[in-house]
Amino acid sequence: MFLKDLFSLAHFSVAAMQEVMERARYFKDRDRNQTFKSLQGKNVAISFWEPSTRTRLSFALAVQKLGGTVIDYQPEMGSEKKGESIEDTVKTMLSLGAAALIFRSSIPGLFYEIAPHVELSFISGGEGCYQHPTQALLDIFTLQQRGVTLQGANVVMVGDILHSRVARSHFYALPAFGASLTLVAPPVFLPDALVPPGASAGFSLEEALPAADILYLLRVQKERQGVNLLPSLNAYASLYGLDQKRLALLKKDALLLHPGPMNVGTEISYEALKYLERHNPERVLFQEQVANGVYTRMAVLDLLLAGR
């Protein structure tokens, strides 16, 4: 299969995901004493229409490490603003000689229709509530780097599943590597029709924790709380925040992932985080996720762009 774009892991085969893992490993192993050239002479545009620090930096670094040039392109775009159209943006990219557009947008599906018709790779850095494919891939890579056997592992994901693009990418990534997924959230964040086939779902974190091999904490976004989804963030934290009492329900070697940025006091209590950092720092993978993001994104760029 010839891959050009990365919008969704639904369209990425298991083989392609495995290929990303292999290439990420390759880049990580050789990063210290080797330079790479697979994007040499290639321009890669980065347009983030939503705030981001780590994902944007991570992509930019990945392009540079592969010898490519980053074009920082930030047009006013989107339907509500009187900015340029999707088509104009794409034309500009092509005129600038860009081989790819790495983008982030609060509106999902912006480039879905145009993508098959143009010679430009579209790589999502997170689209609305749709998908965030490289985040899911870097999570898998991080777990593999830790020597975790994903086959048969139980991943408990807790948080605002409804608005999470990370969760939607993991609906494909985790099962592809044989892990089973348990979703935990209050009903407002976890409608039945959202639960993918094969995953289990529940409203009680206490019930799910003892069986978790990996606990994936999702961000509960403050900016979404203005619309009466929950009585308050504190109400959420009291039922779903990882505090020390709930921490004690986890297996002693259960690992913790978070896509960042973390709201300490909401999805995890300050005390629980400090306790873990002091006594079991090896169980907390947050920093490794960030570091591995660069290699995973190099792998994705290499897979989609090298040789094209």
Partner: protein, 447 residues
């Protein structure tokens, strides 16, 4: 013109006529029907087994004029109507300005008369300016000729106001057409709350946004005893509520669209804006329940909710693109191919839902080919297969999720008051090929 249609198969549920029939049309009316009329002094068209139906009536269209002529005009909308076999349409009042004054009603009627294609029945605004605050000038609008009242697209949230509207429209003998939607529940949603919408991460519309409003309106109808017509019913539970209301003796009529009968939410996959509509496409269980409701008569009418949009608007991203489907030119062949040929409903049921029932609910002529009735009729070719090509629509709205579908049952002749408005896809006054086409069929004496 005076004319005899020979060799056609008549399907007229208004008088239970089904079978080979010759039809004499004189002075714009059906003068005689007989298996064999004998010698006649008018031109004769041989139909060779094609179907003859009372002209279709679409009681829910958006013609966009005045004010939104980029999307559609009364002339292009009426051309789309006769191309699709519709001899009459009822147009919704959400134009700019809205149809809440008699001058706007007169304007629409004048534009329709000038187009001289389909009959156009304006629907008046239920509340002034469609603002949901106070009742519109209902008597004035009725006197100007509206055939019903609706705040379509901006349903009346205030229940007392809705009750008053039903009570008053009853005096005028006109239906209140309700777009059932609890706006506070639907707010911001663009797609049904089902697996596809959730997978795409789009804001959802819960089915309860419709069902809660259906329940309210049925209960208000029970108090108000007006003529309640429920527009574009889309969910399984709304159908259950209709069954309950019937059981309880509440009078109402209800409609469903072709797209809700044929498609489910999976059509929006890939952020397909041509399948973005309100109410949204729902699930297979909903679709099946709607078909069953047609069969058992809980739903009376099929209406297209023809909602043309400019191409640039539907090219926007899924969240910003407008709701709606251009429906007039595909409705009959879609339903014929997918509901009648498949045996889901008999042809008589389809014709009743698309012609006889809407004529009855609107209280207008048509819906029948009984002798003396206006010669509003359509001839359909049940055999020839054609592909839907949206670029060939007469409508300015090319927005359809059915582009490329291969269908049978396309209308080939549309008569309004005995006048040929469409012949083999060519529309009078809109297509240069219309007159040569007429000349050629009358020379051959067959359609």
């Amino acid at each position: 013109m005076d004319l005899v249609l020979r060799g056609g198969i008549l399907h007229d549920p208004s008088c239970n006529r089904e079978g080979p029939m010759e039809i004499l049309i004189r002075n714009g009316r059906v003068e005689a029907l007989s298996p064999s009329l004998g010698p006649v002094d008018t031109p004769v068209l041989e139909l060779a087994g094609k179907l003859v139906l009372p002209g279709l009536i679409d009681m829910h269209v958006h013609l966009r004029e005045p004010g939104q002529e980029k999307k559609e005009t009364i002339a292009t909308g009426c051309a789309a109507a006769v191309a699709g076999g519709f001899t009459a349409v009822a147009c919704m009042p959400n134009t700019s300005p809205p149809v809440d004054r008699k001058e706007t009603v007169a304007y629409i009627k004048e534009r329709a008369a000038r187009a001289d294609l389909a009959r156009v029945y304006p629907i008046g605004a239920l509340t002034a300016g469609l603002q949901g605050q106070e009742l519109s000038a209902m008597t004035e609008l009725a006197a100007a000729g509206v055939r019903g009242f609706s705040d379509d697209g901006r349903p009346v949230a205030d229940s007392t106001l809705m009750l008053r509207a039903l009570q008053f429209a009853r005096v005028l003998g006109l239906p209140v057409i309700s777009h059932c939607e609890d706006l506070s529940l639907a707010a911001g949603g663009v797609v049904h709350a089902g697996a596809t919408g959730y997978r795409l991460g789009l804001p959802v519309i819960h089915a309860a946004a419709e069902t809660a409003a259906v329940a309210r309106d049925l209960l208000l109808q029970q108090e108000g005893c007006g003529y309640l017509h429920l527009a574009h019913i889309s969910s399984r539970l709304s159908v259950s509520l209709l069954a309950w209301a019937k059981e309880a003796g509440i009078q109402f009529s209800a409609e469903v669209t072709p797209h809700h009968l044929l498609l489910t939410e999976t059509a929006v996959d890939g952020f397909n804006t041509s399948a973005k509509m309100n109410p949204p496409l729902r699930e297979e269980g909903d679709r099946a329940a709607l078909c069953e409701a047609l069969r058992n008569g809980l739903i009376d009418v099929i209406a297209t909710d023809h909602a043309p949009h400019h191409a640039a608007e539907k090219e926007k991203d899924f969240i910003s693109a407008p709701f709606g489907v251009s429906g007039l030119e595909t409705a009959f062949p879609l339903l014929f191919t997918h509901l009648v040929e498949t045996g889901i409903i008999p042809l008589s049921c389809l014709v009743d839902c698309l012609s006889t029932a809407p004529a009855r609910i609107l209280g207008v002529a048509g819906g029948t080919l009984a002798p003396g009735a206006p010669a509003d009729l359509v001839v359909v070719d049940p055999r020839a297969e054609k592909q839907v090509q949206n670029e060939k629509f007469y409508s300015r709205g090319k927005n359809t999720p059915f582009h490329g579908w291969k269908l049978r049952g396309f209308p080939v002749l549309t008569l309004v008051e005995g006048d040929i408005k469409m012949c083999r896809g060519e529309v009078k006054g809109m297509s240069d090929a219309f007159i040569p086409m007429l000349e050629s069929i009358f020379k051959e004496g067959r359609l």
